[in-house]
């Protein structure tokens, strides 16, 4: 399995600071994007703290192969061990940010969204809280692997408003869940089997507010190099106003190399070349 990944974060054109935070760990194949909120520097602190805590704890649990009884809070039996590591690290990060915001007046009201992608040998695990997103791009289609925790998304799911109303609603930036606003939080976690050439996009609302799903898909479909695609996505959002910080990370998973080894691989490339 070969993973190529890239990630970029941009302040955008309207904001003075970048409250988004991005981390890519190629040794444990862990990719994280967070979008902080809260006045002064609190948003920057929240997103950075969240990413660091998740990274540190997940890596620590992986190294020790910690049983589920040793992780933070109750395990979720619908998830694999690694899925539990992700979900538990998010709960832990939430608690820390919550306590910081209670303790210090300068951090009052701070919070952050988070999306995490973990690539395992045959599966990927996607976890999220808030309105940052993870997409799976497979062939010519793109589908979300994250749930949006915003008032508008929940109203849409319940059938109270239409998709058109949701897109233009003035309430679309009101979150119903984030890290830091309450003592406990539940992440939405999804686990799926990956296939050859699957690509995953992690992004903040600085991108998705301005660039539609179809446009994002087109850029990714027509691109190859993850870093170049990330640059294109960011410049597209900036072209349309760059209202917010924009963070994107694209992870491409190639499995072919596992399956065709040695002589079979040679034979396969021979056939390919002949065509």
């Amino acid at each position: 399995m070969k993973i190529s990944a890239a990630g970029l974060s941009d302040v955008g054109l309207k904001r003075e600071t970048n409250e988004d935070f991005l981390a890519m760990d190629n040794s444990t194949n862990l990719y994280i994007v967070a979008d902080g909120m809260g006045g002064h520097l609190a948003g920057e602190v929240a997103s950075k703290v969240a990413v660091k805590i998740v990274q540190k704890n997940v890596n620590n649990w992986i190294n020790k192969n910690s049983p589920l009884t040793e992780i933070f809070d109750f395990p979720d039996m619908t998830l694999s061990q690694r899925g539990n590591y992700l979900s538990s690290s998010i709960k832990l990060a939430n608690r820390v940010i919550y306590e910081m915001s209670q303790e210090y007046t300068e951090y009052k009201g701070m919070g952050t969204t988070i999306v995490i992608l973990a690539v395992m040998p045959s599966t990927i695990i996607a976890a999220n809280v808030g309105d940052s997103r993870i997409y799976l791009i497979r062939g010519d289609s793109m589908e979300p692997l994250s749930k949006e925790h915003s008032m508008v998304a929940e109203q849409l799911e319940m059938g109270l408003i239409s998709k058109e109303e949701a897109e233009t609603s003035p309430l679309r930036h009101i979150l119903t869940r984030n890290l830091g606003s309450s003592e406990t939080v539940d992440a939405d976690v999804f686990e799926i089997e990956h296939i050859d050439n699957d690509r995953f996009l992690l992004c903040t609302d600085g991108l998705t507010d301005l660039v539609s799903d179809n446009e994002i898909l087109n850029i990714i479909k027509n691109g190859n190099d993850p870093e170049h695609i990330c640059q294109q996505l960011i410049s597209e959002a900036n072209k349309r106003g760059g209202n917010d910080n924009i963070t994107v990370s694209l992870i491409s998973v190639n499995k072919e190399s596992d399956e065709k080894r040695g002589i079979i691989k040679k034979f396969h490339t021979f056939l390919k070349n002949k065509k």
Binding site: T78, M151, M158, G159, I161, L171, H173, L175, S181, E191
Partner: protein
């Protein structure tokens, strides 16, 4: 401080200062703003203050809530907005500072709404609709074997269910040509999807061989090798 002014027949009935984080409107005595009129539901609407802005939400009332003569589900209130409930009018007024603050909040800023308050709000809104809409969202998928192999019914409790010969499979199938993992069923944001894993063992859904992930609908038949089963959603019992 913002104020809500209740008007009926062109006469000001009462003025309500917005002193708490939320105010409810309805016929019931427990509301902050009580309107004793049959056209008004007992819990009709509410106004929540979050960040610097005020949000008006209709609580699935019988006769609806209107903001500036437009029917709304939820709506961001601005200075001098007119709210119509039955034959009563409510005018919303903000102080100068609040108007400035709301303007500042305008700039696409992300905010968090207090979860307990918001959950209650959404639940109230959804009470009537929840039964028919999003009916399948919380339901658990079940695989039911219909080939007489004695597999019975297997609830898909995990986010990822592996099907095959391997001991770690959630659904174990025997047979000489059965691979360790023949297919997986994953629970995704859009529902349950089945994915074939190897090219050698064919996976059919409704008699058609699938090569990629396929979203499952109620009573789809799935064939894996010589096994045949059906998928459906179960009434949730312990699911949230």
């Amino acid at each position: 401080m913002a104020r809500v002014i209740l008007v009926f027949n062109k006469k000001v009935i009462k003025e309500y200062p917005f002193s708490k984080d939320s105010m409810t409107i309805g016929r019931d005595e427990a509301n902050e703003i009580v309107i004793d009129n049959l056209a008004v539901s007992s819990h009709h609407a509410r106004i929540d203050k979050t960040g610097g802005i005020y949000i008006l939400t209709d609580l699935q009332s019988t006769n609806g809530t209107f903001a500036n003569d437009k029917k709304i589900t939820s709506y961001k209130l601005q200075h001098k907005d007119k709210i119509t409930i039955g034959k009563h009018l409510l005018f919303f007024a903000m102080s100068k500072q609040e108007q400035a603050k709301a303007k500042e909040a305008e700039l696409d800023k992300t905010m968090i709404l207090d979860t307990a308050q918001q959950k209650e709000l959404l639940e109230k809104q959804a009470e009537k609709k929840a039964k028919d809409v999003s009916a399948q969202q919380g339901k658990m998928g079940v695989i039911s074997f219909i080939d007489g192999s004695g597999g019975g019914e297997i609830p898909l409790t995990k986010k990822l269910t592996k099907i095959g010969k391997a001991e770690t499979s959630e659904i174990r199938l025997g047979g000489l040509f059965m691979p360790p993992t023949a297919a997986t069923i994953s629970r995704r944001p859009n529902g349950y999807a089945i994915t074939p894993i190897t090219k050698k063992t064919k996976v059919k859904v409704n008699n058609e061989v699938i090569k990629e992930s396929h979203y499952l609908k109620d009573f789809d038949t799935i064939e894996i090798g010589s096994y045949k089963c059906q998928f459906y959603h179960q009434e949730s019992q312990n699911e949230k």
